[in-house]
Symmetry: C2
Subunit: 338 residues, 2 copies
């Protein structure tokens, strides 16, 4: 049992209170300013509007201005803000922890430009929060299912496995299964890459009413190979891509979710601009892969990789940001050496 | 250009005439007695009833009794009969080839008991056809899409790659992409294993209206790991499972197809017997994974593997053949390490 503070009360942050509160931990949930509407709803005793469950009654809710107090009471932190929020909250943590080296698990996904430099979420936390105990959380988790206590398998990764194991000890339940890895980079990159790849999948899926099943299946295999190659070249492990953090999460992102929906709109004939507006009209939130196709390429290029290492990713980027026609994706695939 | 004879005029055999005829090859299509209704339809100038396209007009159609004549004219053979047909047709080939060592590519999937021994399709052909030049064809291919010239990626495997390359030279087209491998065993096992695993996927997918997306995604990752372990222990390569022959084909089998449909019926509450009858009522043909879960286990056990190497496969087998309740699948999954 431990004092666990979850930072960010969106769908995933809120869902994590459910397993966290299961093991007699003292669980806090801190709300950013963007979450204040949710704060009010929970205070009124309503279910969380995005995952539609009531949070465990023992969870203590902290308002934005109660950040320092919340952090002070915590033995373990879970960072579940938006990917853009990871940098500012890491800086807030650095100040609030004031020398205490509290382990921080980060759930946010993607590659962000921080002070001009493309970084993974774990890299941002490690550099700006002041803790050396960074854990990265990955694997296929739809928040609403986790909150409903449906079986969910995740991976907690830290370069020294002992920190990930510390979280597993207090967070694991019968339905929230945690495996431990030391491949932080592989897990971080997989979690970022899945989104542009899900857009690629959606583009093929949207073409001519979905009659490209052979190509979609080949795409899944080619994506996996491309991800494994990128991860390996940057120092991670191929096996990470072939496990929960990779194929598991890629799968759930392709099957449902905003990125593949956005890709399908493009595949069915909308321009990128039209597809972005349609996503806005549907109110389904940010398409992470749209921006991440660009930040990922900056991340790769800053480390000496290029188009030959990631032809599918580059093709997605060129379709989304450089006006390339969607058909180049088929051309890229049929010209791949497998 | 070559004389290519395709044995078996079902969906896949017929679809393969399309790329085969593209490269100025002389293509023959031999009909088993089970295919005679299709023979008559094609003779009347109708499209193939199962893939709904007209075959290239240059394809020569051979009746069952014209087997010897057909084989004699061929430089390359493609065996596309049902998995039960591979043994008798291999024996017919042995007689008809009478010493000529013609390369045989086999497209059929599964593990069959032949004279009491569980064998892969490539093993049956190698043992009974008399050729030493066996090529195994795998990868995600819905026949109707291939026949419609939609991009399709396959793998041709032979222990000596030169035979697979011989097929690639004459069969590859812009839309029918062939990669070559020497892992015949990995490809054969992947093609057989995918069916029981697709049943497992269907069972979870059918539970409570499909609200187990996190578990399904984890299942995909766990299945991939289990397949890779089995293939490796039997002498094949993990990479085969992570490529087109493995995840590519697993994916397309899970998403569509009879095996996952059958699993969904069980997941939604039907008994195995009821689900089998419902499949018959729907007229969708044989559920390969039902029988193959049993022949696969015999194949594994004959080679010293057991439940610990394949807990998901064994669980499917126990649900289908031993009366275990479908819920044991969730129990198996949540008790897996990582």
């Amino acid at each position: 049992m431990a004092g666990i503070l979850i930072l960010g009360a969106g769908a995933m942050g809120a869902a994590l209170t459910v397993p966290a509160a299961e093991n007699n931990n003292e669980v806090g949930l801190w709300f950013t300013e963007y979450d204040l509407g949710i704060y009010e709803a929970l205070r009124r005793g309503e279910p969380h509007p995005r995952i539609r469950v009531r949070l465990p009654s023992s969870v203590r809710l902290y308002r934005p201005e109660e950040f320092d107090e919340a952090v002070e009471a915590a033995d373990l932190l879970i960072l579940a803000v938006s990917s853009q929020g990871v940098y500012p909250v890491s800086r807030m943590l650095s100040r609030a922890m004031s020398g205490r080296d509290v382990p921080v698990a980060v759930v946010s996904k993607g590659i962000e430009l921080v002070e001009g430099e493309p970084m993974t979420m774990a890299e941002v936390v490690a550099k700006y929060s002041g803790t050396r105990r960074v854990v990265y959380v990955s694997g296929p988790s739809l928040a609403a299912e986790l909150a409903a206590r449906r079986p969910t398998f995740t991976v907690y990764s830290s370069e020294d496995r002992v920190y990930a194991e510390g979280f597993r000890e207090v967070m694991e339940t019968s339905y929230y299964r945690i495996s431990v890895s030391d491949d932080v980079l592989g897990a971080s990159l997989s979690a970022a890459l899945k989104n542009p790849y899900a857009i690629a999948y959606g583009i093929i899926d949207g073409m001519e009413g979905g009659g490209y099943n052979n190509l979609k299946a080949a795409l899944v295999a080619h994506i996996l190979g491309e991800m494994a190659g990128i991860v390996e070249r940057l120092g991670g492990r191929r096996e990470t891509v072939y496990g929960l953090s990779g194929i598991g999460d890629v799968y759930v992102t392709m099957m449902g979710g905003r990125n593949s929906m956005f890709g399908r709109l493009i595949g069915s004939g909308l321009t990128v601009g039209e597809a972005l507006r349609e996503m806005e009209r549907r109110g389904v939130g940010v398409v992470e892969g749209y921006r991440n196709s660009e930040t990922l390429i900056r991340y790769l290029e800053a480390r000496g990789l290029g188009r030959g290492d990631a032809p599918i990713l580059y093709t997605v980027y060129e379709i989304l940001h450089k006006g390339a026609p969607k058909e180049v994706l088929i051309k890229t695939l049929t010209s791949l050496k497998s």
